[in-house]
């Protein structure tokens, strides 16, 4: 058994045990279809529900930085907010970053999988959570990794590995490695009006320990549709950013030599 697979299984087991020990999920409650359009909940959405966003907005950076290993912190401090920001050139932001900040997505349930389609599809992409298979033995590193999930009652436990190391953990340009491991526990709360995602990120190569936080997404009323959002609307601006990014990358490579 590979280390990654072993850690995955242990983490899923721990998540499952934590759930059954600490949460008020009625026994035997079956999953109901969550298909719909969700948007990151704001203060008004959360008012009176008893739920709140952990480390909201840019404050998530502080939480992550407190868990970075020294090399990762040094790399973060050496980055450039434009040249190193993949989203600026309409490349993916990776799964760690975009949904936590301003996520809007369609949640689509189909046979054997759940598909999350983010509105800013060029940078956030499409995420598939497979319910009918385990991780491949050697997943090809990708921006959003390989996600598998299983239902425990009406809670979805999602395990994701197989990331590339091109994206950042959040907007402060906190790096991660291909060892990154994302664990999520998803459930509906507040009479089904909110989707709660409890997020745990591990990366033994970049983090001193795992960090955890919650995000809440408001289910939008029927009839509200997710609008088209194309990143690369203006190719001239895109080219200018891309050229600037490539030049800075080249300059840094020269300095290293």
């Amino acid at each position: 058994m590979s280390n990654t697979l072993g850690r995955t299984l242990v983490a899923l087991l721990v998540l499952g045990m934590a759930w059954s020990a600490g949460q008020a999920q009625p026994a035997g409650q079956a999953h109901t279809d969550w298909t719909g359009y969700y948007a990151l909940a704001n203060n008004r959405d959360l008012a009176g529900t008893g739920f709140h966003q952990d480390a909201p907005g840019e404050r998530l950076n502080d939480l992550i930085v407190a868990h970075l290993q020294p090399w990762a912190k040094a790399r973060m401090e050496a980055t450039d907010g434009v040249a190193d920001d993949t989203g600026q050139v309409c490349l993916p932001d990776g799964i760690f970053r975009y949904p936590s900040m301003a996520g809007r997505f369609l949640w689509l349930e189909e046979r054997g999988r759940i598909v999350m389609v983010f509105d800013n599809v060029n940078t956030a992409g499409v995420r598939r959570i497979f319910l009918d298979r385990p991780h491949p033995k050697n997943p090809i590193p990708s921006w959003n990794g390989d996600s598998v999930g299983r239902w425990e009652g009406d809670t979805l436990l999602v395990d994701t590995i197989g990331f590339n190391d091109k994206s950042w953990l959040f907007g402060g340009m906190e790096p991660h490695t291909e060892e990154a491991h994302l664990l999520e526990r998803m459930r509906r709360v507040a009479d089904g009006s909110l989707l709660e995602i409890n997020i745990t990120v591990e990366d033994r190569e970049a983090l001193t320990s795992a960090y955890t936080y919650n995000r809440y997404y408001k289910k939008q009323p029927d009839g509200v549709e997710m609008a088209e959002d194309v990143c690369n609307e203006d190719p001239e601006t895109w080219k200018a950013y891309r050229d600037a990014a490539l030049k800075k990358e080249l300059d840094r490579a020269r300095q290293v030599k």
Binding site: C90, E110, V117, E228, V230, N232, K239
Partner: protein, 217 residues
């Protein structure tokens, strides 16, 4: 009488269990123009064969092909995208809509096709337009309007107007192993007459991967 009543009880659930239309869920990939399927089915036509009105033809000639949306990692629009060889799509039918996801996200993006509403009275022009659909027997008929003027109709720089109207007809053939895809484009401001091409998409037992334009950089 008892037999009839029993038959009714048994038949009602069976009738309800019958799908009202084909289940299109799956991953599909367009076949090569060189392939002929059983029954003589093959790709017919191409966006390159559209006939432009004189003014539109003049406009196309003046276009800088270096500014092709394809080269700029921009959406290219359904008419052009669906004609490409090897285009890989995933169809996700849920409730009142079918979502069409493209492996090549930058050029295809994704389309939301609504089954339970008509086009809104006032449409904000978009890259992919507004798509609504209905079933005609085993065929999904998609009607799309409301395009912006940023996409081209073909690789040769053919422009279209805001009057572009696409009608796509999708149905499973050969026992569901393939989808037949026919699209008709009409645009009275740029096209001499409506143009239709046909593509066949093979159903795959695979997953769609990340495919990011400019990723090699």
């Amino acid at each position: 009488m008892k037999a009839l009543a029993l038959s009714s009880i048994l038949c009602v659930p069976l009738a309800l269990a019958q799908p009202a239309h084909p289940d299109l869920q799956g991953v599909y990939q367009s076949i090569s123009d060189r392939v002929t399927l059983s029954g003589g089915r093959e790709n017919v036509g191409s966006p390159a064969a559209i006939q432009l009105l004189p003014e539109a033809a003049k406009q196309a000639k003046a276009v800088d092909l270096k500014k092709d949306p394809w080269k700029m990692c921009q959406p290219v629009g359904p008419f052009r995208m669906m004609a490409q060889e090897q285009t890989k799509i995933e169809l996700v039918p849920v409730r009142a809509m079918i979502v069409m996801l493209f492996e090549d996200l930058s050029h295809g993006v994704f389309r939301t096709i609504y089954l339970k509403r008509g086009h809104p009275g006032k449409l904000e022009p978009t890259w992919l337009g507004d798509s609504v659909a209905r079933w005609e027997g085993d065929t999904l008929v998609i009607d799309t309007v409301g395009f912006n003027d940023q996409t081209w109709l073909n690789d040769e720089g053919a422009q279209h107007s805001d009057a572009l109207h696409l009608v796509e007809r999708i149905r499973p053939v050969l026992a569901g192993a393939y989808l037949e895809y026919k699209v008709t484009a009409e645009d009275p401001k740029t096209l001499v007459k409506p143009y239709t091409y046909t593509r066949y998409y093979k159903k795959l037992d695979t997953e769609i991967l990340d495919d990011v334009c400019q990723d090699e950089e």
